[in-house]
């Protein structure tokens, strides 16, 4: 028995929406960062789903790309967050709105 593709896609959409909501609502920059990761993984899920559905490997390759980029992004992003925290002593994005250091 195979799970219909719609289920995967609904799960992917749900995860993506949770990510968006977290991204919009949360004030802690780390949480926002995690929300972004969640959205990326929601997309990854749909890539895998389509790859499986169409029996094409390119979807899987995209997923690897996304994961590599996300890893690089996490490294850079965390470095920025640490630098920001050192200069502002806060992780609240609402208090980081001066558009300069």
């Amino acid at each position: 028995m195979t799970v219909p593709i719609v289920w995967y896609l609904i799960l992917s959409a749900a995860l993506f929406c949770i990510g968006v909501c977290g991204f919009l609502i949360k004030r802690n920059i780390i949480t926002i960062f995690m929300s972004i990761e969640l959205m990326l993984n929601a997309v990854n899920l749909s890539f895998v789903t389509f790859a499986n559905h169409w029996h094409q490997v390119s979807g899987q390759i995209f997923v690897f790309f996304v994961m590599v980029v996300a890893a690089a992004e996490a490294a850079v992003g965390l470095a920025i967050i640490i630098a920001l925290f050192r200069s502002r002593n806060t992780l609240n994005v609402d208090r980081i709105d001066l558009m300069k250091l």
């Binding site: 968006v20 991204f23 919009l24 004030r27 926002i32 994005v93 609402d94 980081i96 709105d97 001066l98 558009m99």
Partner: protein, 655 residues
């Protein structure tokens, strides 16, 4: 093969002087500036003399020199950059460079203490450049270049004391009034192009001569438009109003530009285009009437002026009227003859007046002069020669030329009225010139000797100017005496050289030239007319002598008795006020209210204001989006993504 006369060099010489003084004159010592300023006009004068010698040795006239062929070529229309030398040009060249050089020499002394010495001389040289271009040009277009150029220099020099409000305004007035005339000149050129397809004097006039059936019609239109141009430049009714105000300029400028040369450009143009005018009896009649009317009108105003230069300005207008009268009765060579003698004696009058003004430290009001005969002997005697000349007393220059014009108008068909007006004007001229003479040089001194004295070197009394001022006075004095002898009429035992010299140009155009062997009756008539003009001039002298020397209170009595007339003339017939109310006022009101407030402020500025208001309003709204708040950016991002989704999912199908 005739040798080249190098006409191109002639205007370039003063232009070189202008360029040198205009660019580096400010940093150079005065001696160098005046050397440059005198050297180049002197060289030009020398070249003119050389040209005269060449012509005397048999260079054929007319002589044409073309440089850029074509200068302008537009769809079938050609204009060459070419110079033409004929007898008329030669006379003008001698006057322009000769009198011009004398006035340059005079200016070295007169302007010595002025600021902007280099500026003055560079303008003067520039004037000579444009004036030579004007008289040398072989087509209407190049003539127009010179015509506009002299107008420009006139503007610059009237406003030479630009920090003085009245001078700046006078310059503007001269420029704007001349613009009206120039507009006529331009339209005339357009008509000539439309009908003849060229602007070359030679071709246009040959074309007219080749078609004897052409008469009136569009030729009258061209002639009247050219006449409008001439009335502007030569200060005739109705455009004379700028010339009296032009006296705001330095006195040598008044002498050179506003008496001797530039203002005669209109007369020169009429004479140059005589073939055209000859085909339009209406235009000729109008020229004659304008000339006679202006002569009389300006002479009456001149009677009551108290500013010495303004008397001379009105006298210039009046004498130019004589020249127009001569052209109007087709006595062109008489008009040119009067132009020449007038250049001598009017330049002299202005220079002598300048000498008086210089000696009195800038005083121009004749009521504050008097008794200068002993203090300024050279000025007095040369001025006397000029006054006798302009009054038309035998054997001074003005007698011959004025008498020739009067005789020509007497002989012209229906010319008796013109002659009568001219005769009365001659009397008036004599009267106001002797009035000036008496008020300036006779009676008791009405200035304060202790405080008067020119410029820098304090109050050591009234005395003559330096030699550079006196030499031109003396030379012009001699010319005022002898200059008229070139036109000694045959009826009085002379040979009327100038008329014969100009004959190759005007022969056939004129219907009043006396026959080679005048009949006894004609000689008789000429002598009677000359006698009558002399008598009138002497009467004017006698009257001036009576009213301004022997019984000074007579003048005041006369003013009291004819109060209305006196007021009318004292206010110069209110012409300036009438022009102000009828033309200047409405134009100004229209410019201020409709063009200024309506179009400038309302539409042009309004459009700008509307744009800025829109931009700043829109940006003040858009600015709120860039708050710096990351979550609001995120919100915009999400909203945008949602919008794209909606478009892709639902709206994309409907396109």
């Amino acid at each position: 093969m005739t040798p080249s006369l190098h006409l191109w060099l002639l205007p370039l010489l003063p232009l070189a002087g202008f360029v040198i003084n205009g660019i580096v004159g400010r940093r150079l010592p005065k001696a160098f500036v005046s050397t440059v300023a005198l050297l180049f006009p002197a060289a030009a004068f020398a070249q003119v003399l050389w040209i005269v010698a060449q012509v005397h040795q048999g260079v054929a006239l007319p002589y044409l020199e073309s440089f850029a062929t074509p200068w302008i070529a537009v769809s079938g229309f050609h204009a060459n950059f070419s110079f033409l030398l004929d007898q008329l040009t030669l006379v003008m060249l001698l006057v322009v460079t000769g009198v011009g050089l004398l006035i340059h020499i005079y200016s070295v002394g007169y302007m010595a203490a002025e600021d902007g010495y280099w500026r003055f001389f560079s303008y003067m040289n520039l004037f000579l450049f444009f004036m030579l271009t004007l008289v040398l040009s072989a087509n209407f277009l190049l003539m127009f270049v010179g015509w506009e150029g002299v107008g420009l220099v006139s503007y610059l020099l009237i406003g030479f004391y630009y920090s003085k409000d009245s001078a700046a305004n006078a310059g503007k007035k001269a420029f704007i009034v001349n613009r009206i005339g120039d507009f006529g000149f331009l339209l005339a050129m357009f008509l000539i192009i439309a009908h003849f397809g060229t602007l070359s004097f030679r071709q246009v006039f040959a074309d007219i001569s080749a078609h004897p059936e052409l008469h009136g019609g569009f030729l009258t239109a061209i002639a009247l438009l050219l006449l409008l141009g001439a009335t502007g430049k030569s200060a005739q009714i109705p455009l004379y109003v700028w010339l009296p105000d032009a006296m705001e300029g330095p006195t040598p400028v008044s002498a050179l530009i506003h008496a001797a040369t530039m203002v005669t450009a209109g007369v020169y143009m009429l004479a140059r285009a005589h073939v055209l005018f000859g085909r339009s009896p209406l235009a000729l009649t109008i020229i004659a009437v304008i000339g006679a009317a202006t002569a009389f009108f300006a002479a009456t105003i001149g009677i009551l002026q108290t500013d010495i230069k303004r008397v001379l300005a009105y006298s210039t207008i009046s004498q130019l009227g004589y020249m127009f009268l001569a052209c109007g009765v087709t006595a062109y060579s008489m008009g040119i003859f009067h132009l020449v003698t007038h250049a001598f004696f009017k330049a002299l009058l202005f220079l002598a007046a300048g000498s008086v003004i210089h000696a009195l430290g800038g005083e121009q009001d004749m009521r504050n002069m008097g008794g200068l005969r002993k203090k300024l002997p050279v000025t007095f005697w040369t001025m006397t020669a000029a006054v006798l000349a302009i009054s038309g007393l035998f054997p001074f220059a003005g007698f011959f030329s004025k008498d020739a014009i009067l005789a020509a108008s007497f002989a012209a068909p229906n010319g008796k009225a013109l002659w009568a007006v001219g005769l009365v004007t001659a009397g008036l001229t004599s009267f106001y010139m002797f009035r000036l003479w008496y008020m300036t040089f006779f009676r008791t001194a009405r200035y304060d000797e202790a405080t008067t004295g020119h410029g820098g070197h304090g109050s050591h009394g009234v005395h003559e100017g330096p030699w550079s001022m006196l030499v031109p006075l003396i030379i012009l004095g001699v010319l005022s005496l002898c200059g008229g002898w070139i036109g000694w009429p045959a009826a009085l035992g002379g040979n009327d050289w100038i008329a014969h010299f100009l004959d190759p140009i005007f022969a056939g155009a004129t219907n009043v030239l006396p026959a080679a062997a005048p009949t006894a009756a004609a000689v008789q008539l000429a002598r009677i007319l000359a006698g009558v003009s002399m008598a009138v001039a002497l009467f004017g002298w006698w009257l001036a002598d009576l009213m301004y020397r022997r019984k000074p209170q007579l003048a005041d009595d006369a003013a009291q008795n004819a109060k209305a007339l006196y007021t009318l003339i004292w206010n110069k017939y209110w012409v300036d006020q009438i022009y102000g109310a009828v033309i200047v006022g409405p134009v100004l009101a229209f410019s201020r209210n409709v063009l200024g407030r309506g179009i400038e402020t309302g539409i042009i500025d309004g459009a700008n204001t509307a744009m800025t208001v829109t931009a700043s309003g829109a940006s003040s709204v858009i600015r709120r989006m860039q708050s710096g708040n990351i979550r609001s950016y995120a919100g915009w991002l999400a909203a945008g993504a949602a919008a794209v989704l909606v478009v892709v999912l639902y709206l994309a199908h409907s396109f």
